[in-house]
């Protein structure tokens, strides 16, 4: 399948014209940033290094080599509980579709990163806070099932407030459904790398985010199970600034590594390479990586 229209558009013009004229303020250091500069710097503040939350399309376009074939894009959530509070669930979904240009909280599909074909899932906080309802669960499940069939490694970027309340228990059950898909993928030799981005909490962190073979986190990302506010209310005291950050979790031993956004792709490429296994050139099996050209060898 050819490159989707949205991806081609993003590539051709990373920042829409009407937005390009705009400036934005870094929420961390307050510096005014020209949007095209921000995009060129992978949505990282060049003054303080604050990592802005990235749109899934932007994330994909900065990662994949060429084509990206989306799967499950046609899946649209229903309204299993008939939910209405201030506005109906259907209206909330419609509003977020317009606001985010996404059909749901995750974009899944196939592409290649640094020459390695992968199954790639990218969550987006812009759509209902990246919460997992039936469609997010279904797309992630399909991603792992297809990756298993095609014997491809799986890379998932998480960003989520947890399970989606408006879909009730059907949302919670997506933790079980995705877990079973990841487990089957794993049991059949699949290689899975997750990249936890800001924020990764609740039902997503307590399921596929923390079931990967290698777990990365973007610098400063908030990662945890319970929300910060919930904990503060429970213990009735302020939490330290660095609590539930990627760096904090690394220190506690819960992550393999914390990576700055500019290094995420190159690090992924190195990790994907290890996933090809220990096929040594001498044992007759196909070598994982091509031998360096003679001219590149040290003299």
């Amino acid at each position: 399948m050819p490159m989707p229209e949205w991806l081609r558009l993003r590539r051709a013009q990373p920042v829409p014209a009407e937005e390009a004229a705009q400036w934005t303020k870094c929420p961390k250091c307050g510096t005014m940033i020209y949007r095209p500069d921000l995009a060129a710097n992978l949505w990282v503040c060049s003054t303080c290094g604050h990592h802005f939350r990235m749109h899934a399309f932007d994330r994909i376009s900065t990662l994949v080599d060429g084509d990206f074939t989306e799967i499950g894009g046609e899946l649209i959530p229903g309204d299993p509980l008939g939910w209405t509070d201030k506005v109906s669930y259907a209206q909330k979904l419609q509003r977020d579709r317009e606001k985010s240009q996404l059909t749901e909280g995750v974009v899944c599909g196939f592409g290649s990163i640094g020459g390695f074909p992968v199954a790639l899932g990218v969550m987006d906080f812009n759509f209902r806070g990246g919460t997992m309802g039936t469609v997010v669960g279904e797309r992630i499940t399909q991603l792992f099932e297809r990756a298993r069939e095609r014997k491809l490694p799986c890379v998932v970027f998480t960003a989520s407030g947890g399970a989606r309340m408006e879909e009730g228990m059907l949302a919670l059950m997506q933790m079980a459904k995705t877990t079973l898909a990841v487990r089957r993928f794993h049991d059949e030799g699949g290689y899975y790398v997750s990249v936890l981005t800001d924020p990764t909490t609740g039902g997503v962190s307590a399921s596929f985010a923390f079931q990967a073979d290698v777990i990365l986190a973007e610098a400063k990302a908030a990662i945890g199970f319970a929300g910060r506010r919930v904990i503060e209310q429970t213990i009735r005291q302020k939490l330290p600034e660095n609590f539930q950050t990627a760096e904090f979790l690394l220190e506690k031993g819960a992550l393999d590594m914390v990576v700055e956004r500019k290094d995420v792709k190159s690090r992924l490429v190195r990790l994907l390479d290890y996933g090809l296994g220990g096929g040594r050139p001498t044992n007759g099996k196909a070598a994982a990586a091509p031998e360096p050209a003679p001219s590149e060898r040290p003299a």
Binding site: G137, A163, G168, L172, M173, S207
Partner: protein, 316 residues
């Protein structure tokens, strides 16, 4: 304040008056049987009125009733129980009681969340909210069950996983994720029963099972009503509204195909007949194990996969 306990007060008074009249009648030559019958009829009527149809919020309170049978009551009712402690890394989590057991003669590994009964016990059990080491104990025991070919039986009753600083430091998310990952792979039958509150991922971590049973007045939800109200509206006080919207009763879950079987409770709730209720649950678990006993491990896992795979496939 528990709304069910409040509603029960009038009934308990009536109950006492009937008892008094009965003992009085036994001592006096006067015939009071008509009066007693009238009171008993009134009692039954009020009972039906209160418990015949309950709102979701009342169900939540029934699930949290202070006299409701809790995890340790089920464990005590097993034919035999040898508790196994600890996660082998950090400590023994008292919110989860687990070990080898015999259930109606079957060898099993039993795992129960326990909220504790009195204040001292509640603190000791952390109100039934497991910390990561609790889920890591579960992982260890599921591996042990798998190793020995013993079925796993779980009793779920928690408002949710512990939301404390220490639990975050020890990676609560990872512990729950790995508990799910372990249950997904077990080659032995798993039967989970929601006996009280099934709160969020902290409950699901014990309930990725081949059969999910639910007591009639147990509730099972994506978040506790208080938690959901806080998340949705920033106001935990709107819990009653959340309880109504979340579709968390046993009827709802049966309809969603998440619960496989609902175990009836006596009129007025499980605490009106604790030992009878516990026995009915154990019988139901025994029956479920009987059905699963003959299924080959690969087929078991395939069915488990399909059971959860179909939930929310079309997004509807």
């Amino acid at each position: 304040m528990n709304v069910i306990v409040e509603r029960e007060k009038g009934l308990l008074e009536l109950e006492q008056r009937i008892e008094e009249l009965k003992s009085h009648a036994a001592q006096q030559p006067v015939d009071m049987s008509a009066e007693i019958r009238a009171l008993e009829a009134k009692y039954a009527e009020i009972q039906r009125e209160i418990f015949g149809t309950m709102t979701p919020w009342q169900r939540v309170h029934m699930a949290r009733h202070p006299k409701r049978p809790i995890g340790s009551d089920y464990v005590r009712a097993l034919d035999q129980f040898d508790e196994l402690h600890g996660d082998r890394h950090f400590r023994d989590d008292h919110a989860i009681v687990a070990g080898f057991a015999k259930l109606r003669g079957r060898r099993v590994v039993a795992i129960a969340q326990d909220k504790g009964r009195d204040t001292k016990e509640k603190v000791f059990r952390n109100f039934g909210m497991p910390a990561p080491e609790g889920y890591r104990k579960v992982i260890r025991l599921v591996q042990l069950a798998d190793h020995l070919g013993l079925p796993v039986v779980t009793f779920v009753d928690t408002s949710g996983a512990d939301p404390g600083i220490g639990s975050e430091e020890r990676a609560q998310s990872e512990a729950i994720a790995q508990s799910l990952f372990e249950l997904a792979d077990a080659r032995v039958p798993i039967v989970a029963t929601i006996i009280g509150e099934g709160g969020s991922g902290g409950a699901l971590a014990l309930a990725l099972a081949d059969r999910v049973l639910m007591l009639e007045h147990a509730v099972y939800s994506v978040a506790s009503p208080e938690g959901a109200a806080a998340i949705l509206w920033g106001d935990a006080a709107r819990a009653e509204e959340a309880a109504t919207r979340l579709k968390l009763t046993s009827d709802d879950l049966l309809q969603f195909g998440i619960a496989d079987e609902v175990i009836p409770e006596p009129l007025g709730g499980a605490h009106r007949d604790p030992s009878g209720t516990v026995a009915r649950v154990l019988d139901a678990v025994d029956r479920a194990l009987g059905v699963l006993a003959g299924v080959a491990p690969d087929e078991l896992r395939e069915r488990r996969y399909r059971k959860f795979r179909r939930i929310g496939t079309t997004g509807a």
